[in-house]
Symmetry: C2
Subunit: 405 residues, 2 copies
């Protein structure tokens, strides 16, 4: 009998806890596993030997369900990147694994976390350690991990973004005077989340009328033309823009005003991308403009999580634990899509080396030729991922969350 350790890393999401639940569910039915440990604050918590007994903490089906509906990383997170050239850290990790009789380690996270999985599993292989198995489970609302069709957490963020744009479109529609509303969506290098704003139109909604992803260079003149053209059609224009849009020279829009904006404390005023565009429209169009950032809400709105996303996130946890138990190591659990209608997927694993530190961007052919919208192919890709509602438990009028520490 060995023990299993699970930990979470990187930015939180509405679905990352469902993956923990999946790992625990698979471990619970295994005869190879005695203790199921959760490390607090990712690999930092492994170094600190800060472990929670998850068999005890998640002793009932109700608690496991509550965990799935709890946003952010219930085990805490960290942003610690291990140094590949320094074997001492890996020796230390292995020695802690030995101390706690840990034979299986599942690390849930994004690109950086998969780097940890890659380096640790490489060290283990190179040192011919044959009783420790390390698996990655994907997580990122950015949807930018390679090898997997899509990433757990993305579907729930996309559903929040779609619903919010649908509601904002209704809100912006009420006045009959020209007004532009610019909404900034997360995504520094990949526009998947911004693209999800198009899902707001699935039930007949008119907005957003303009969508700009960070994969294409942003042309300010063309943007102003686009806005003026839309204002001819409707007084209320709703715009979705990736936080990471850059101009043709590769400069982020949000960095373009730093040379002049200094606040009373002498700090550079790094306004957001939407704020920059708000000022641009004010100057060039002159109508009412408002900028909005969806900020952290888009990654933690578990009250409107996608049922498909939560279910897949859990299955990826099950898969990662299952791979470990069957002797796999140095891989990440992945989801493969077989068809859109009906939506069919299967679960598998892929070598971690092709995933760590890589980014999967929106293919340029999925952006409309004029650069201000997405194509039907991208819509079809996203649509299945936001299907189904989760109806989390409310008490006192507020969603109930599980706290593990």
């Amino acid at each position: 009998m060995k023990n299993l350790l699970v930990a979470q890393s990187g930015g939180p999401s509405a679905a990352i806890n469902a993956t923990v639940a999946g790992v625990v569910e698979r471990a619970l039915i295994s005869r190879k596993i005695q203790h199921i440990y959760g490390a607090v604050n990712g690999v930092k918590g492994v170094f600190a030997k800060n472990f929670i007994d998850l068999r005890q903490a998640l002793s009932s089906p109700e608690k496991l369900q509550l965990l799935c509906n709890t946003p952010a990383a219930a085990l805490g997170s960290c942003r610690l990147k291990l140094k590949g050239e320094d074997p001492q850290q890996f020796q230390e990790l292995v020695s802690i694994f030995r101390e706690f009789n840990i034979g299986y380690f599942v690390y849930i996270g994004g690109n950086d976390s998969m780097d940890t999985v890659a380096k640790l599993s490489q060290y283990i292989a190179q040192n011919h350690i044959d009783d420790i198995f390390v698996m990655g489970a994907p997580k990122t609302i950015d949807n930018d991990l390679k090898s997997t069709d899509h990433c757990p957490g993305y579907g729930s963020a996309a559903k929040y973004i779609a619903a919010t744009f649908a509601e904002l479109e209704r809100d912006c529609h009420v006045y009959d005077i020209p007004a532009v509303t610019i909404v900034e969506v997360m995504g520094r290098n990949a526009g998947w989340l911004t693209a999800a704003s198009a899902l707001a139109r699935l039930n007949g909604g008119r907005g957003p009328q303009l969508i700009y992803l960070c994969e294409r260079p942003f042309d300010e003149e063309q943007f102003i033309c686009d806005v003026k053209q839309q204002l001819q059609k409707s007084p209320a224009v709703l715009v979705a823009v990736s936080e990471g849009v850059k101009d043709a020279s590769g400069l982020y829009l949000c960095e373009k005003q730093t040379h002049s904006g200094v606040d009373v404390f002498g700090h550079k005023q790094l306004s957001g991308t939407a704020k920059y565009l708000e000022h641009l429209v004010q100057r060039e169009v002159g109508c009412k403009v408002r900028s909005i950032e969806l900020s952290l809400m888009q990654r933690c709105a578990s009250h409107i999580a996608s049922q498909t996303d939560l279910q897949e996130s859990k299955m990826l946890g099950v898969t990662a634990a299952d791979c470990c138990l069957n002797g796999d190591s140095g891989k990440m659990a992945i989801v493969c899509r077989h068809s859109n209608a009906p939506y069919q997927v299967s679960y598998s694993s892929a070598d971690i080396q092709g995933i760590a530190n890589q980014e999967k961007k929106v293919p340029l052919e999925w952006i409309s030729p004029e650069g201000s919208d997405i194509t039907p192919e991208l819509l079809e890709y996203m649509k299945p991922l936001i299907q189904g509602e989760t109806y989390p438990k409310f008490e006192n009028g507020v969603p109930v969350h599980l706290s593990l520490y």
Copy 2:
């Protein structure tokens, strides 16, 4: 047989359409009413004779239910304030009412909209017009209308704010390094919405740890002390602040940096209140800080509307129409609270003169003595208003909304 006209005005909310539904439901069962008209874009639409036949547009119970779950003003809105000293506008309105045989007019809105009800009903009374009855129905997420215990739309905004703070608390909790997250909530002169952040703690959540309402002068030094003290207890500190907090001299915090911040276009940088405090914490505390604005999302998030709020909003529409039909005029429908546990209310009406252009602020005794939290009394006042979930209809993974024009 006369016709009834209903219109919406002021800022949208997640509940204002339920009030239209209530007006229509009451009108549908009346034998005094032939046509039920909705004016598009408030009183502007009355002047433009831009009417929708609501008997036709809302011909099924399904459509009425969909209307209740649709955010923002389905009939559109306006910000037109009538001039009291100019009888011509009122003559014109009455002449349009005559042209369309309108005997009953219900205007749904906030302080400014009630000013329209006050002036129009006064003109009608002074000119001894005895066949036109004008009623107001309250609406404002700000909860700042007098005479009524609370305002339709507030409960749903409060529920969104409570759920969002609960989720943000989970999100901020994941890292173990000191970090302050400052969330700006709507409310220029009344702190009711900011107070709703405290509801996030109802199920055991730890945040927000600090809450600042605009009713109390904001002391920057005290704020920094408060933040430092909270950081001693926990690395993640979540702060709720009203957009309208002012310093002791009466200056809005968000106006304090205008003298230095000028963007590349030469515009004054009117950053928000939270952004101002972000820079203050950066300078005085030096830890990681983030500012968030809940922006329009807090007023249009109908996907998480309060069932209590929607039901009461509808009942206030029923009440306003009922008052009209029974010969009342120059009044606003109100809700009276009889007890908190069990929560019991009744519906009535109050003279519009004590309501128009007035503001109801949070009583100072409902703010904790140290000024950084609310009292249990205020929590008890708010709690019943966010109870119950509405589970609106989803199609294609996105909420379905009704479009009337």
